[in-house]
């Protein structure tokens, strides 16, 4: 269950009776005059996978390090498993962390790495051996105890780092962009593996990333962070389909953005007119009145291509005439870059996965349109809270 400061709490699949594993209340951290983490409140339900998604420098690591205890908040309170953590040093907190570059101990074997925390707790040698063996089996690395860390592949290292934390049965596992260092293919693979691991262990994960695809695929809930604040907290679907701020709309998933003025407001449908004269209808998010400066977004896969305008207008969609600039063939992810003819505005539009329009050629003129209800429009500069850009 996640509670954002100005967002309504929305109890979803977590058991509402259970206490949240992590609760932060008005947590803030300043570096000089710079607010790295700005008065954040949220909670993470037991057993859920919670991601914090945001661009570089937005304060994700700072927040995570406060939870782990490496930093102490300037104000506010952090509760883990219901207990306040003020003044509790990192080695006494029921949290473990998987570091961005994993921080496996290179001078120790895999087994010693995984057993490190247990040894520090004074667990008996035999017991450590048993539990390390079990844990390695659970992360699909049975018998890897005696390997050296540098003998492992990237994905195996990943699993060792997670095993090393999970063997301590923490209330909370923190992960700071753990896939950041892996290459493309491996990252795709580890994404799925991580999701399955979390499901299998049932441990609460708090996961940091700047890769929206990771956050969407992995999480039960995602908080989109910007400038030290949460712009929106919700399920991946909510963020993708119902962005609450222009930042979220632009950051989560690919999007075409059009800035302009609201020249017509009709219920929740707004017509946006750009400086170049492009007019585009969209669904209003929040209060918008005629004449407001606005930003509208339409996703590449929401737009439809057609060789005849009639095909679009017949379906009740607006229709734009555009020239093909560039074909970006990429199998199922193919797209075209178009320039709307009258306003010279560039659009990226996904090609249908059916292979239709595979014969499109650069320079050709086509039409495109979209369902205005699936395009969104915000008053310019909308953020989660007015005083964010202080």
């Amino acid at each position: 269950m996640c509670v954002g400061p100005v967002l309504t709490p929305s109890p979803l699949h977590a058991n509402p009776a259970a206490q949240p594993d992590l609760q932060a209340t008005r947590v803030a951290k300043h570096y000089g005059a710079f607010r790295a983490v700005d008065d954040l409140s949220f909670s993470v339900a037991r057993g859920s996978f919670f991601s914090i998604l945001g661009p570089s420098g937005c304060g994700k690591t700072t927040l995570l390090r406060m939870i782990a205890g490496f930093l102490s908040p300037d104000s506010g309170e952090i509760l883990i498993g219901g207990k306040p953590m003020n003044g509790v040093p990192p080695n006494k907190r029921p949290v473990n962390m998987v570091f961005q570059h994993l921080a496996l101990f290179p001078m120790m074997s895999v087994g010693d790495n995984v057993g490190y925390g247990l040894a520090r707790r004074g667990v008996a040698k035999d017991e450590i051996k048993r539990r390390v063996g079990d844990m390695l089996e659970r992360v699909s690395l049975p018998g890897a105890q005696n390997k050296r860390v540098d003998q492992l592949s990237g994905g195996q290292k990943q699993r060792v780092a997670i095993a090393r934390s999970l063997v301590l049965e923490p209330t909370l596992l923190l992960l700071d962009e753990p896939l950041g260092a892996l290459d493309l293919k491996l990252r795709e693979h580890m994404k799925i593996e991580l999701k399955q691991l979390q499901a299998a262990f049932g441990t609460t994960f708090v996961y940091i990333t700047h890769d929206q695809s990771e956050a969407l695929v992995l999480s039960d809930h995602v908080a989109v962070m910007n400038h030290g604040r949460f712009e929106q907290v919700g399920t991946p679907q909510q963020l993708y389909y119902e962005p609450q701020t222009p930042f979220v709309a632009g950051f989560v998933g690919a999007n075409n953005r059009l800035a302009g003025r609201a020249t017509e407001v009709n219920g929740t449908t707004v017509t946006v007119t750009s400086a170049q004269g492009l007019m585009m209808p969209a669904r209003a998010i929040g209060q918008i009145t005629r004449g407001d400066a606005v930003e509208a977004f339409v996703r590449p896969e929401v737009a439809r291509l057609a060789r005849q305008a009639a095909l679009l207008t017949d379906a009740g969609l607006p229709s734009f005439n555009a020239r093909v600039d560039s074909l970006l063939f990429d199998g199922a992810n193919s797209a075209v870059l178009l320039t709307e003819v009258q306003s010279n505005t560039e659009f990226r539009i996904a090609l249908p996965q059916t292979g239709e329009f595979a014969d499109l050629a650069v320079g050709e003129t086509v039409f495109f349109g979209f369902d205005p209800q699936r395009a969104v429009c915000f008053a310019a500069g909308t953020t989660a809270n007015e005083h964010v850009f202080s």
Partner: protein, 290 residues
């Protein structure tokens, strides 16, 4: 140019020739020293008069005092070992502390202090020797004048030799250890801390093991540097001469092959030491390269 670029034949040939000449230059003196340790003549000079082990095993009675009967030589060898051990221990300890000071603390003047730590490397050894000699004797004289206290360790002698050598060898140890500590990924410590280790346990189980190659390396360098030191030592010796000073004295007498014998012994010992160290170091160094 580099291997992947075409190199004309003459260039490749001259590289080989130069390499051979260079290594001949490096090894000729050592080979000569080693060979003449076995020459059956009173001076280490040609012609070759036959093979003998006299310069190792000869004893007082035989007219040729071999190395193993030369009490003074053996004594100075031992003195060198003792001095080198002290210098090594002190240098590694203080070097480690310095490394942590430079890498892990913040205070005003740190920059200047860390530059000052390098200064001994650009002070000629003789000057280090005389300045320490002068300062130590000033303090000792002062203690004597004021309190009638005889601070013997401040008078020329082994303690002062140890201090003198330490004064610049610790700079090298500091550099070596700092370089490794700089490359240390601090998140390893955080990870250990996060896994429940106390600060002491972090130091003991993570940081020091990581530093181990540098500690061993700087210990070896310190030992070698101390063992070889002459300039500083010469100004600070008292009645016990370390080997270099003793050998210098003997060389001015017109060396006998005993010097060759002791030199050969040194070569063998340091080769054995260095080779075992390189052997033992391999897994350790692979830690940081991967």
């Amino acid at each position: 140019m580099i291997a992947s670029l075409p190199r004309p034949l003459w260039l490749r040939a001259s590289t080989v020739v130069y390499g051979l000449a260079f290594f001949a230059f490096l090894f000729l003196p050592l080979v000569v020293v080693a060979v003449f340790a076995f020459n059956d003549a009173p001076y280490p000079a040609p012609p070759w008069r036959g093979f003998t082990l006299d310069w190792f095993v000869g004893h007082d009675g035989s007219g040729r005092t071999g190395l193993f009967a030369d009490a003074a030589m053996l004594g100075s060898l031992w003195t060198s070992v003792v001095v080198a051990c002290w210098v090594t221990i002190l240098s590694v300890l203080v070097g480690t502390a310095n490394a942590f000071l430079i890498e892990r603390t913040q205070f005003r003047g740190k920059q200047a202090l860390s530059l000052l730590m390098l200064a001994p490397l650009v002070i000629p050894g003789v000057i280090l020797g005389i300045s320490i000699l002068a300062f130590a004797s000033r303090i000792a004289n002062l203690a004597d004048d004021l309190w009638g206290l005889e601070l013997e360790f401040l008078r020329p002698g082994l303690p002062l030799v140890v201090l003198g050598q330490f004064s610049y060898i610790v700079s090298i140890a500091t550099l070596t250890i700092t370089a490794r500590l700089k490359r240390f990924d601090i998140t390893l410590e955080e990870a250990a801390y996060n896994l429940g280790a106390s600060r002491l346990a972090v130091l003991w189980t993570i940081t020091l093991p990581y530093l181990k190659p540098a500690l061993i390396g700087s210990a070896a360098i310190s030992f070698l540097m101390s063992f070889e030191n002459f300039n500083t030592t010469l100004m600070l010796v008292g009645s016990d001469s370390p080997l270099t000073v003793m050998m210098y004295g003997r060389m001015r007498e017109g060396a006998t092959p005993v010097l060759n014998a002791v030199s050969l012994l040194l070569m063998v010992a340091s080769a054995v030491l260095a080779l075992t160290m390189m052997r033992g170091n391999k897994p350790g160094t692979s830690n940081n390269t991967h």
